[in-house]
Symmetry: C2
Subunit: 205 residues, 2 copies
C-alpha cells in the first residue's frame, strides 16, 4: 500500500533544504552576518552540521543560495517578471513601473528586509563576499534590465546612443539609495517618479 512506502528521500531533503534556508535567513537578519554560524543554522533547522557541509562549503554559500531562493519566491509573489525577463507589453514606462513598484514591495517586505540589509552591510565591508553577492544575486537581475532596455532601443523608444548597463542604474540606484540609507519613505509614487524622470529627463526639451 502507498502508506507503507518509505518517505521519499528527495522530498525529505527538499524539506531540510528549505528549513536550512529559513534558519540561515532568520539568523542573519537577527544577529548579523558575522555572528551567524553554520552550527547555529544547523541547530535552528533541526539538522546536523554535517548535513550543511555535505551540501555547501561555507556559510556564505548557504546564505547566497538562500537569498536566490528567497528572491525567486518574492519575485513570483510580486509578479515582477522572473528569471526569463522583465514584462514587455510594449509600454516601457508602464513595464518599468510594474517592476520598480514590485522592487519597493520586496525591499520593504519584512521577510526580505532584515536578512538583505545584513548581507548588504557585510558585502560593503567585505569585498569578497560583496563580489559573490553581486555576481550571484545582483547581476542576474541587472541583466534583465539591460535586455528590456535593449528591446526598447530596438523598438525605437529609447535613444540608440544610451548604454543600457549604465541607464539601468538611474532606475535601481535611487531605490537602493533610499532603501539602504532610509533617507525618505520608499513608496510606489517614488518608484513612478523615478521611471518618469529617467525616461524623460529633467531638462526642458
Amino acid at each position: 500500500m502507498v502508506e507503507n512506502r518509505p518517505p521519499d528521500p528527495s522530498r525529505r531533503s527538499e524539506r531540510s533544504r528549505r528549513a536550512i534556508y529559513d534558519a540561515a535567513l532568520g539568523l542573519v537578519g537577527e544577529v548579523g552576518y558575522p555572528r551567524t554560524t553554520v552550527e547555529a543554522i544547523a541547530a535552528r533547522a533541526g539538522v546536523g552540521k554535517q548535513t550543511i557541509y555535505r551540501w555547501w562549503p561555507s556559510k556564505a554559500a548557504v546564505l547566497l543560495e538562500a537569498f536566490v531562493a528567497l528572491g525567486d519566491r518574492v519575485a513570483e509573489e510580486n509578479g515582477a517578471g522572473d528569471a526569463r525577463g522583465l514584462p514587455d507589453t510594449g509600454d516601457l514606462a508602464a513595464d518599468l513601473k510594474v517592476v520598480l513598484r514590485a522592487t519597493v514591495d520586496e525591499l520593504t517586505d519584512p521577510a526580505f528586509e532584515a536578512p538583505t540589509r545584513a548581507l548588504a552591510a557585510e558585502g560593503i565591508v567585505d569585498p569578497q563576499l560583496g563580489a559573490e553577492f553581486v555576481q550571484k544575486l545582483l547581476d542576474p537581475s541587472l541583466r534583465l534590465y539591460v535586455a528590456r532596455l535593449r528591446a526598447a532601443q530596438e523598438a525605437g523608444q529609447v535613444r540608440a546612443d544610451i548604454d543600457p548597463r549604465i541607464a539601468l542604474e538611474l532606475l535601481v540606484g535611487p531605490l537602493t539609495h533610499r532603501w539602504l540609507l532610509r533617507t525618505l519613505p520608499l513608496t510606489h509614487e517614488y518608484a513612478d517618479a523615478i521611471v518618469d524622470y529617467t525616461l524623460h529627463g529633467l531638462a526642458h526639451p
Copy 2:
C-alpha cells in the same frame, strides 16, 4: 618673551581634537564600527578617555563629527563647492559633472573609503545610527543639490514639474549604488554619463 608663554590651550585642544578624529576614522576603517571603542580611540590619539567623554557623549558622536570634518576637508581639496552651495556657472550639466566627478574622487580616496564604508554598513543595520548619519552628514549635502536644481528651474533649464528632492537621487543614487556594491568601476566617465542621462532622459524626444 614669546617662547616662555604657556601653550595656547585652544591650539592644544585643536590638536587633540584632530588626533581624536584621525584615530576614530582610522580605527573604524580598520576594525569596523562595532569593535571601535572610545578606549581604543583615546589610546591611539594619545589622550585620556575622559578627554573624549568631556567633548562627546558617545563613540557615535565622535565619529559623526570626525566624518563632518573629513567631508569638509575632502570637499575643499576637490573643489566641489562647499557648505554654501554647489558651483553655479549657469551651465547645469557642466556644474553637475564637476560635482559628481569630485564625488567619485572622494568615494575612491583611501582616507575616505574605508571609514565611510564601515559607517555606512553599520547605519544599514542600525536604524538609529543610520538616522544620525543621514541627518548630520547626508542631508546637508543633498540640500545643496536641491538648491542648485531649484536655481536651474528658475533659470528655465529644468522643467517646473520636477521635484528637485526626488530628481537629485538620479544623480547620487547611481554613484552610491556602484560604490557601495562595487558592481563596476566608479569613474569620471560614469559620472558624466549619469549627468547626461539624468538631464536628457533615455526616451526618444
